[in-house]
Symmetry: C2
Subunit: 339 residues, 2 copies
DNA sequence: TCCCGTTGCGCAAGCGCTTGCGTTGAGCTC
DNA sequence: GAGCTCAACGCAAGCGCTTGCGCAACGGGA
């Protein structure tokens, strides 16, 4: 039933080694024999066993992709584009979905990719300990988040400047009381995006001589529901903000929902600006900071392939992707305050 | 650098075979030796080579997941939950993203999972030829779409009845002119969902003695943008519908956007009902037919594991998941027609 | 004609595991 | 104390490839 290289060899009247060489396009096989072998292999429906091949050659033709929450739009999009690039180059994708802290811990302890992959693409920012574990695999590493990192090739965006774009837009519209929905729970995940975006927010407030109010800096857990709850909390403060910067479009959409439930209108009563340019941001008319999500996945995959192809793996390097503010209908000047 | 089973064996003063048995918890190893080996293995940071193990044993401990468009919410969600179940059971997930017809063709021709996986979970409905190719792998197969199929274990929903729920709701509200946004391009993908949902739509129209108008049955390509264009087309007809059934929430959201752009209000001017209960459906207040997406992924994965564990693989079987209409704010009775 | 460089192919030694079977020795029965 | 069973472990044969090396055969230059 399972046809092996030996079967092809005998059927073609040659040695297994010749079959291997022929099928891999390696030199040392005459053109006639090569086509003959190709035909026989096709007739028999032969497919080489990956296990045997990688055991013998050391190459697995597989890359590990480690991601949190594949269901989240951002990660799904990155994964989609990265997979396309990798599979086009002949690599298989081994997916590890390590969202929960438990799964993450288990993963980095057992390191199931040891001897299993030729390279790793990570959509989550490893802690120092995790980075060490990854580097110990001895394969090229690529990151789709964060900044430059020794041993890693990374592609990312300038989160801080993105936040500045968003908040400055609100300031320019005349807002002085600007809330932010981000998260405070990022530390254990070693995820710098929230703090970078917060830094941008604070920077712009500072420039505009607006005193930051900690009560306006709330946690939305980077989910739709969290964003809704965060917005609700903001509306419950003594002096609610006239504008809100949500660190992700998903949280921004949650915020929009909260506004609707409170019978407040956006942007008339409260302006909202998001981050990501989610596929549905356009649908709900959300002003947001756009980042090229799919391109980041593809770029990271391509950088990984470059390293895989290079004779001397040259780790490191950082590619920064462009971002831009996309104006839609969720932002407007604050309504004149009742005197 | 790479520590093999032999290294562990010599370090522990035993034979490789004993190490293998000890680490796999197989009988024939005394408790002392077992703990000793475990300690040595941990000290050396030993991880068995999957290639070697599967070559020798025949088991790969990986399952192939084949999906279209991982970026689409539905598939991302299914993948996420399925991965969780599979990895918890010790299986690795090999992801194949075969969205485009070209990628799909290439995939089924080369069949890269031959000898690579212990089972396959497919999120796309294979054609007869594709099903044949999959069955030829000789491993358990699980599907997250469609109905019962020989050789496959499948979990799905009653698409037809779901559509009936949606359309009947509109009829009950008093609508008589009801459009549908679906797709006509599903045939080459062998994707029965659109036609099933259409059947449900037509069925309810029939029950209500409403003559179906082909001009109200438009293509939205199951994307947000497609839905927007489809709605625009509907609004351009001589006599626009007062209500629309979109076969997916993503298309429904596109439709909502089109309405906004036309300065029409939902549900006052046009009612819209979707299908899926997308994470953001709640945000935009979309009435929709809910299906348990994550549960379907998890269920399919579990069924696959059952077959993998069973001594005698019993393929086949069909699990139908419940669906329900979720009433939100996008549907209302039609406004009285101007006499 | 002889010699040497190519080219084309086969041989065989692994790659690092798993597993059936054989061996050993301890503990038991009678 | 001889013979038995059985647990605990080692031996070695693969699993299906890859690849360095050896060996013909062939052709061209001297």
């Amino acid at each position: 039933m399972a046809v092996s290289i030996g079967d092809v060899a005998t059927a073609a009247g040659v040695a297994p080694s010749t079959v291997s060489r022929a099928l891999h396009g390696r030199p040392g096989v005459s053109e006639e024999v090569r086509t003959q072998i190709a035909r026989v292999a096709a007739d028999l429906g032969y497919t080489a066993s990956r296990s045997a091949a990688s055991l013998a050659s050391g190459r697995t033709w597989t890359v590990g992709v480690i991601a949190p929450y594949v269901g989240r739009w951002f990660f799904g999009e990155v994964l989609d584009s990265a997979e396309e690039v990798l599979s086009a180059a002949g690599f298989d994708v081994l997916l590890y979905n390590v969202g929960s802290p438990a799964a993450r811990k288990r993963f980095f302890e057992r390191m199931p990719l040891r001897k299993r992959v030729d390279g790793v693409l990570s959509l989550l920012l490893p802690t120092e300990a995790e980075a060490l574990a990854l580097r110990s695999l001895g394969v090229p590493l690529s990151l789709v988040v964060g900044g430059p990192r020794p041993g890693f090739t990374t592609v990312g965006i300038d989160d801080r400047r993105g936040a500045e774009l968003a908040v400055r837009h609100l300031v320019n519209l005349g807002h002085r009381r600007i809330g932010m929905i981000g998260t405070t729970a990022a530390a254990p995940l070693n995820w710098t995006t929230p703090s970078e975006r917060r830094a941008g927010y604070l920077q712009v407030l500072h420039e505009a001589r607006i005193a930051p109010d900690p009560r306006l800096d709330v946690d939305g857990r980077y989910t739709v529901k969290g964003g809704e709850q965060a917005m609700t909390a903001l509306l419950a403060t003594r002096q609610p903000p006239t504008a809100v910067f949500a660190q992700s479009d998903e949280m921004a959409m949650g915020a929009l929902r909260a506004l609707r439930l409170h019978r407040l209108r956006c942007p008339e009563d409260v302006s909202v600006v998001g981050f990501d340019d989610h596929e549905l941001a356009e649908v709900v008319g959300l002003t947001t900071v756009a980042q090229p999500v799919a391109k980041q996945g593809a770029a990271a995959a391509r950088l990984l392939l470059d390293q895989l192809a290079a004779p001397e793996p040259t780790a490191g390097g950082y590619v920064q992707m462009p971002i831009s503010l996309v104006l839609r209908e969720s932002t407007a000047p604050p309504r004149p305050q009742p005197a």
